[in-house]
Assembly symmetry: C2
Homo-oligomer: 144 residues x 2
């Protein structure tokens, strides 16, 4: 059985693909019964769409794979703390578990909407946090 | 020049189309320089996707029409107070103005994330609120 670190590495792989495209490097995977059923990375620039965050696309793809809207039995892994929009989507999907890497002190949901998640969603943070944060730092440093 | 009531009637028309499809009746339009550049209604059931709220689709469609991610010069009209997810998207889009009809005391962003919007977004609420709320009441009454 793979562990949180394994799946976060998969999300990190997605984040790196985002960086390669010139997108803010955030990646996500959705896992259901030890199987990755969706993977996505931020595509806001490519799609000219502020809603195209990694988590949003992963939720949409996972629901498509499952044939149902709810992700009660799934875990969403994402490299950076979700924003308010994504936290709202994670709540609507009744996501069973959320695992994220690095905190996002500026845009993370914990600051603006700490009650945004579904009360049943279990949350784990800090998984490979340094690697997740470093990808972001490197990206924004290059753009300066 | 059309006024808020006129555009809210267009959003209500979208909401009625949602109801006709068995979708929770919420409708939205995006207006830019007195022109409707996007219209959408809730499609969460049809698309099996919790992210398919009227506002999300309207924002995506408007950005596609404009060829840019930001809606600074646009007004988003929506029949019901946006949820946390949609408020987050409205913020990312730097939407110039948000006009909504009826409050949503249970799921509206004002309750969970009153700071979620972009500080520059002007907000007007209560436009045709009774009509907007009545559509929702009728819909949920029928489903009981």
């Amino acid at each position: 059985m793979a562990d949180d670190t394994y799946y976060m590495r998969q999300a990190l792989q997605e984040a790196r693909e985002a960086a390669n495209r010139g997108e803010v490097p955030v990646g996500a995977v959705v896992v259901c019964r030890d199987r990755i059923i969706a993977r996505a990375h931020n595509l806001t620039e490519t799609l000219t769409d502020v809603t195209a965050h990694a988590e949003m696309q992963a939720i949409t793809a996972a629901a498509g794979w499952l044939g149902g809207k709810y992700l009660n039995n799934c875990t969403l892994y994402v490299t950076i703390e979700p924003c308010v929009m994504c936290a709202g989507a994670i709540a609507w999907a009744q996501t069973g578990r959320l695992v994220y890497g690095a905190d996002d002190e500026k845009r993370g949901f914990q600051r603006y909407a700490p009650q945004a998640l579904h009360p049943k969603t279990q949350v784990t943070s800090g998984v490979l946090a340094d690697e997740c944060a470093q990808l972001m730092k490197d990206f924004f440093q290059k753009r300066r």
